[in-house]
Symmetry: C2
């Protein structure tokens, strides 16, 4: 293995890299066209200007139901001095849209006509010429420009085109993006998830990028995964670039490691201008060309892949089609906590958003490039420019929206303790009220109460044991939120206990065993209810936490603790039964505790919270949670109001 390699990238500033790349392909325009029936052209880009072939209306048309006349025949009619017209001679019944009979130039509304007998009518006011008439060409004049080239065809356009006598239009072909996944650890996503081998991951990036290419106006072909072999990758890239591809993406191997072949592939077949960009995620991107066609090396971490695509490939597809690159709606938000960032890098921080009171609050999601769920859970992206060391808590910044503003305004922001029942609650809420979303961030019970204090959420999940009297939550709310009236709504009671590997190989019986030399523990973060419970139990048996190996290793959710036990990172963790059961771990029960939602009274009467409470009290919700195991729903929905006078 060659380890003498340059593993540092020469980073190009993001804006400069994009400008350079787009400039290199400024003349690379989609000139191939296809003629399509107008309705099928929706979403496509016109290749040529389109001129109307017919006028609309193509004749003088009645704009009202009534009687068509020649205006000058009606002159002299007045109230009390009616004029009589004869149907079929100088008056003709017409309905809206009908052609005006020859010799007529006006319509009298039927309401203003007095029917004398079957053949004659009286009118008591004159018509003026062209009243209630849609004149020929009022909407569209034959030969007029309907749409310029490069126009995006919308459903409205379909109406105008057909009205103008156009039934087929020439549109630009969609640029073909050939996507080549690479990497020997990639498993094919058609295989059974249960048969995936250790060390393998499902190759998902190519499918995601392909769909992003479609959204940008392109089309894609996903080619089979190539292992990290320079010759094989070169062969595939060459074949793609020599074929129909309009651009070639190679996923993975874009960095400078020993198995990273993309750079060499592009250098051997063409040239590169950029290797490494000052962006995070997405740093190790490669921009070049092969056989005159754009060639991009896409980093393998999924968030990096998505960001690199959005910064370089999507704008190039749009430029190729002659349309502006899409821009996301932006909104001013206030971060719920400080977010540090590295100088010299443009960082894309994924955030959850919600409107709490009259401000939009942004909670940062995990920042790792490998965390695709940080993108799918995100409502927006805050871009921290390379010149900044980060952004401050509560200091307004701009976020690009990934969901519509209205959806964010209809999001209930939950911050606090993690419980699997919150997922069920979110699902049931969305099932009943499709426009409402429950968005949960997991910072522990105390963190949730702090978020209420700082106006960062609508509610907080909390299970804080008062070790003095065995009560839950009330004393904590009184202490930490003395000025905020809060309703504690019981979500459920749940079993907490020790999670161990299936079969309990180390024969753990209780917290007394945590000090054993052969046992490695995995802990929850300080401020979480579970951590408080652990410390209480340790104190009760007189055990010094310093004796516990792994006491300082912290995870933020029950599921993370469970997976640490499952993966052998630890032998024991404290958590809820549902998490142990989900991953098929053994569970040693310790305590049944109350889990409440703390909701400031000011939100209790809002529509979203009322709907949420309805769901909580529904039989469906209770049954679904009970089925997870380890939950007790007898007191679900019970309310205690704290901090009112």
């Amino acid at each position: 293995m060659n380890i003498k390699r340059n593993i540092y990238l020469e980073m190009t500033p993001l804006a400069r890299a994009r400008d350079l790349f787009l400039e290199k392909f400024a003349d690379f325009r989609m000139t191939r066209t296809e003629k399509m029936p107008v309705p099928d052209a929706v979403g496509r880009i016109l290749a040529q200007p389109v001129f109307a072939r017919a006028s609309a209306p193509g004749y003088h048309a009645a704009a009202m139901d009534g009687v068509a006349v020649l205006a000058e025949n009606t002159y002299g009619a007045a109230e009390g001095r009616p004029k009589t017209l004869t149907i079929g001679e100088d008056a003709f019944y017409v309905n809206t849209g009908h052609i005006l009979p020859d010799g007529c130039d006006a319509v009298i509304m039927i309401e203003q006509v007095d029917v004398h007998d079957e053949g004659r009518i009286d009118i008591e006011a004159p018509a003026f010429p062209w009243q209630h008439v849609r004149k020929m060409g009022e909407d569209i004049v034959a030969t007029q420009l309907l749409f310029p080239q490069n126009h995006l065809v919308t459903p409205y356009c379909v109406g105008a085109l057909i009205a103008g006598g156009i039934f087929h239009v020439p549109v630009k072909k969609r640029p073909l993006v050939v996507i080549l996944p690479t990497g020997k650890e990639m498993a094919n996503p058609e295989s059974d998830p249960d048969t995936i081998k250790p060390g393998q991951i499902f190759e998902s990036n190519s499918h995601m990028l392909g769909k992003m290419a479609e959204a940008a106006g392109g089309r894609y072909e996903r080619w089979e995964t190539t292992i990290d072999d320079l010759d094989l990758i070169k062969e595939a890239v060459k074949k793609a670039a020599d074929g129909d591809a309009d651009m070639v993406l190679v996923i993975g191997g874009s960095s400078a490691g020993s198995e990273d072949c993309t750079k060499q592939t592009f250098l051997d077949l063409g040239e590169i201008w950029v290797h490494g960009v000052t962006m995070m995620p997405g740093k190790p991107v490669i921009l070049g060309k092969v056989r005159g066609k754009p060639a991009v090396g896409i980093p393998g971490y999924p968030v990096s892949a998505a960001m690199a695509f959005e910064q370089f490939v999507a704008p190039l597809i749009c430029q190729t089609l002659g349309v502006p690159a899409p821009q996301r709606e932006a909104v001013t938000v206030e971060p719920t906590r400080k977010i540090a960032s590295r100088l010299g890098l443009d960082e894309f921080v994924r955030v959850k958003l919600g409107k709490v009171g009259n401000r939009f609050v942004a909670s940062p999601l995990p920042r790792g490039a490998g965390t695709i769920t940080s993108l799918t859970q995100a409502d927006g992206i805050i871009r921290i420019p390379s010149s900044s060391e980060g952004i401050l808590q509560n200091k307004p910044v701009t976020a690009e929206l990934l969901r519509p503003l209205s959806a964010i305004q209809n999001t209930i922001v939950a911050v606090g303790s993690h419980d699997n029942a919150l997922d069920i609650l979110a699902d049931e809420l969305k099932s009943r009220y499709g426009d409402l979303t429950l968005s949960s961030s997991h910072v522990g019970s105390l963190g949730g109460l702090m978020a209420i204090k700082n106006g960062g959420c609508h509610l907080a999940g909390t299970h804080l044991l008062d070790t003095a009297d065995g009560s839950y939550n009330v004393s904590y709310v009184k202490k930490h939120l003395p000025d905020i009236p809060v309703c504690l709504v019981t979500l459920m009671h749940r079993d907490q206990g020790l999670m161990v590997a299936r079969g309990n190989p180390k024969r753990v019986k209780g917290v007394e065993d945590l000090g054993r030399d052969d046992i490695r523990f995995i802990n929850r973060q300080a401020g979480s209810g579970t951590r408080i419970l652990l410390d209480y139990k340790l104190a009760a048996v007189g055990m010094d936490p310093a004796r516990i190996a792994g006491y300082e290793s912290e995870e933020y959710t029950h599921m993370s603790v469970a997976v640490a036990v499952l993966g052998g990172v630890a032998d024991v963790g404290l958590g809820i039964f549902a998490a142990a059961r989900a991953l098929d771990l053994d569970f040693i029960p310790m305590v049944t505790e109350r889990y409440d939602l703390a909701i400031p009274l000011q939100y209790m009467d809002t529509d979203p919270i009322r709907h949420l409470l309805d769901v909580i009290e529904s039989a469906t919700f209770k049954n679904r949670v009970a089925e997870l195991g380890g939950y007790h729903m007898e007191e679900t929905g019970r309310r205690i109001v704290v901090n009112t006078a």
Copy 2:
């Protein structure tokens, strides 16, 4: 023909009508599902919550290229006191993404490794447990909720689903909207536009609404047009409602005229709750049900059809799918002129938008329900509530956006005289600069100068003859815009003359003939350059405008004048050669005039205007305009600066 009918509708307030309609179908939910490969599910709605089947990563993975170790083997290493590890024994080369070898719990970056010899390495710092390791489940834990039901699948979701071992998902079937066009005047849009008969129009609404149904998440079937016959329409509606349709739309015949069958159809087959809604366009809408399925009578005017669909059908499709109705981005705009509106009606005014200086200006488009081009040309819609009599010039109001804000910010707003060359200019601009749009409103030359004065546009097309000295534009700019430095850029010279029917049947020779008893004239609006030219020519021959029949009939564009002559509304009109030629009219030349773009100096140096000027001076633009006929491009691009010190 039965003319004793109730032609007045019982109008229901818009908001109440919509709430009632949606409430009636609150339980009408899409329960039919289909299982799809994950990439094909993009844009669809999940029918069930989706839980991960695999963890991602499914193993502890190296997060850096380097050497995998057991952290405790490295303790004691320090700068100047290196520790030596043996490759293959207690150190293992790994690349990013590789599985951690058994017994390892940390990775040391390759940059921090000193290669002793092929088999041994030195390190000068200890590793801590789990450094540079992506722990199993860091992104996704098997069994965790990936997405709740009713979730919209995006390209990002594809990445998360496949990473979580999910390759197929259950999505809701798209509700089927069966669309039944009616009306005997409807021609089939597959026919040749040249063969359309007088009194016929192309049936375009069904195609437009079908595409709107798709955009809302539904699918559609367009059934053949039915003539206005109660039995035939009933038969079709019955067949649709008895069949697979999830909702039935009948287009046309929704009012209360003698040929309007929709109401009776619904009453005979089911029931109706609303006939007539306080909205404009879109008043005569019918809301009901047939065979338990939603049935909507859609008005036949295209803008009415679109508005009725957006207010009732699109929200119903979304409710059926369990997702929120789409909401358009809104922006605060200032109308360029007063817009009156009828009390008691919610009016949807289509407007062109642009950013002039630091405000968004809104120019209203034609308000007729029959003008589909008012929708396709619109950038936004201002909704004037039923409680308002209208909105005021320059008074900020909210507009819903039909195009992205960024596109509106890249729009050059032209207000002023109409000329066909502006269409060519718009097309050429869009061809070269896909992100720029030239948006023209036609209010005449003087109107354009007034728009500059009021900050309502970036430039004004103008051809104002100074009858004192025969010069163009300069004296008008000095008089009307004394405080605004303006650059007059010549777009072209053009021939103006009298347009008459092919063959000149009334043997018109010049303006002297306009006073003849057998001649009907069609005029341009006051303030237009063409009107000023006409009045000047009339004065020159000493003719009194009062002698001209039709002098008071005004149109706003050359093409409208031409179409009036073509359609026999008038015998003669004054206009440009290009308009006469487009409609194959005869043309009697009178004068060649200069047509300038008046551009305030403050905008001359902005990117959009510089690009526009580049296009104006290009050979392609000049040649294309010259080909229209009647244009002279010798002085195109010449600049005169007016009103500078």
